[in-house]
């Protein structure tokens, strides 16, 4: 359903995405795993079509359409959306106003979206999306807003970072629910716990997908090699060839 072919992005003379290839099947929860600085968030921005992240090379195919030259708005129309690793604040905008923007659910269901991310609607709907919300609360509201949008493809940039341990299962359940409604999930993370709910996992290193496979296998590889490797932006060719 989502295919990325030979994608390349150079920003300020630095190659961030380098000949990246990936095919994600329909109804997948696909996690992209990698250490800091390997191009995970940049890949999310390129997929979403943010103007300053226009690739120099390659193709992005979604629902059988070549969307490489689609603008951000055109991609949204195809059913795509994105959450940021650090969501923006909006002074004067309430959580309720925010969840209603572009929502494809009715009011009652919008409130339910908050419940699904573990936030009590009565407590949050009237609150402003500003610095008075903690980073974790803001992340959960962002995920609730994706639930309200009912997209076909959600690119989630670390929706699980900054969330307290007790709330993580709720976040995972919300993502599973979104997926069960038919949404393809591309989940950027460096949290190894996501292995239990992901369909497949891809490892990214130096802007390239170096391996794709079953989540636990990929996590195992990641744990053994990637953290110790530490070669940000330098691919260790020996590791690529190894089986584990």
């Amino acid at each position: 359903m989502l295919e990325i072919k030979n994608l390349k992005l150079v920003l300020n003379s630095k190659t961030i995405i380098d000949d990246l290839n990936l095919k994600i099947e329909e109804a997948e929860i696909h996690t992209i795993l990698g250490v800091n600085g390997t191009g995970k968030s940049t890949l999310a921005y390129v997929l979403m079509g943010l103007p300053e992240h226009k690739p120099q090379q390659g193709k992005i195919i979604f629902k059988g359409k070549d969307i490489t030259n689609f603008s951000l708005s055109e991609r949204v129309k195809t059913g795509m959306t994105l959450t940021w690793q650090e969501p923006a604040g909006f002074e004067g905008l309430t959580v309720e106003n925010y969840l209603e923007l572009g929502a494809k659910r009715n009011n009652a269901d919008i409130k339910d979206c908050l419940n699904r991310v573990g936030l009590e609607p009565k407590e949050y709907l009237e609150r402003e999306i500003n610095e008075n919300l903690s980073g974790g609360e803001r992340k959960r509201i962002e995920l609730a807003s994706v639930l309200a949008l009912k997209p076909d493809l959600a690119i989630l940039d670390e929706p699980d970072s900054g969330i307290d341990l007790l709330a993580l299962p709720t976040i995972y359940e919300a993502i599973k629910f979104l997926n069960e409604e038919g949404c393809l999930i591309v989940w950027i993370t460096h949290n190894p716990d996501t292995g239990s709910i992901a369909t497949r996992t891809s490892l990214i290193c130096a802007g390239r997908i170096i391996k794709t496979g079953k989540p636990m296998e990929m996590l195992n590889f990641f744990k053994i090699h990637c953290k110790e490797c530490g070669h940000i932006n330098i691919i260790d060719e020996k590791l690529l060839k190894s089986e584990n």
């Binding site: 979403m48 943010l50 951000l72 708005s73 949204v76 129309k77 795509m80 959306t81 994105l82 940021w84 969501p87 923006a88 604040g89 909006f90 002074e91 004067g92 905008l93 923007l101 572009g102 807003s145 949008l149």
Partner: protein, 317 residues
């Protein structure tokens, strides 16, 4: 309820309603209000026993003495409406506002100049807030679309121990013209003052906002907050000054200005502390709308213009 200036009052009231004023105040027996056109009192109705409003029409202005007596707690707001439906003229209001001790009162003021081609609205206000009193003042302006309004509200105030004041000035609809706000408050022990100005400048508007808060009492607190948008060729200058002279006084200057098109904005947060146990902080941000905010709304299906509009409206809400 026919008054001497019934027709003028009806005309002004129409604009007042459209600007969000309480349309039921005329029917309600319990509402206190004062309607002024240029320097004439069109209609006055003060029902609260503890509230005294004396007006004196002068050749070149209007004097208003508004006093809320000791211990008076007013649940419904007092409504003031200053307007001018003519295209040209000078409205000069000298207001003396005295809030005595242990009072709780809110004033909603509407200032309406819908046809202004060359109108000057000058408000010279003196304010005193007594001990343990709470005063809220909301002022909403509408200046029409011609940009011919000059608004000069100047206020000098003194706040006694344990008093609270919250003031909100809002000029969002229509064209500003020239605006020159100058508020200066002096706070005694444990008094708290919040000044907020929200202005949307367009066309060739000139906006100047100066808020000065003297924290002259222990544990006194002051906030000078402004939210200004300048687009087209509008210019703005925001000066937020807080001087903390007593122990445990706390102040914060918070200025945000968004610049669009060929607009220009300046901010001068001045903070001064003369006591080692006092603290004043400031934040000022001027610039275009954050690209990330716009994109975060666009991924929900909004166009770029819709996203910008929502961000601006939120900032001015």
């Amino acid at each position: 309820m026919k008054t001497k200036y019934f027709k003028e009052f009806q005309n002004l009231f129409k604009f007042y309603k459209n600007l969000g004023g309480n349309k039921k105040i005329l029917k309600s027996q319990n509402s206190s209000y004062l309607f002024v056109d240029r320097n004439k009192v069109l209609n006055k109705n003060i029902v609260e026993k503890g509230v005294e409003v004396k007006t004196k029409e002068k050749k070149d202005g209007l004097d208003i003495d508004l006093r809320v007596k000791k211990g008076c707690e007013i649940s419904k707001p007092l409504h003031l409406c200053f307007g001018m439906l003519h295209k040209r003229g000078l409205q000069k209001i000298n207001m003396n506002l005295i809030i005595e001790d242990n009072v709780k009162v809110k004033i909603l003021a509407h200032c309406i100049f819908p046809n202004a081609e060359k109108i000057i609205h000058r408000m010279q206000a003196k304010l005193f807030i007594g001990k343990n009193s709470e005063f809220e003042y909301n002022e909403v302006h509408y200046h029409g679309e011609y940009g011919g309004t000059e608004v000069i509200p100047h206020l000098e105030g003194r706040m006694d121990e344990n008093s609270r004041m919250k003031s909100e000035f809002s000029l969002i609809e229509g064209v500003v013209g020239r605006l020159d706000i100058d508020y200066c408050l002096d706070l005694k022990d444990n008094a708290t003052c919040e000044l907020l100005a929200k202005v949307y400048g367009k066309s060739k508007d000139e906006i100047r906002i100066k808020d000065t808060i003297h924290l002259n009492g222990a544990y006194s607190k002051g906030l000078a907050k402004s939210r200004v948008i300048v687009k087209d060729e509008a210019v703005s200058e925001v000066i937020g000054e807080i001087i903390a002279n007593f122990p445990y006084a706390r102040g914060h200057v918070d200025c945000k200005e968004i610049v669009q098109d060929r607009g220009k904005a300046k901010a001068y947060p001045f903070v001064s502390v003369t006591n080692s146990k006092a603290k004043v902080t400031h934040e000022a941000a001027i610039g275009s709308i954050d690209k990330k905010q716009v994109q975060a709304l666009m991924v929900k299906g909004l166009s770029e213009n819709e996203a910008v509009d929502i961000i601006i409206r939120g900032l001015l809400r």
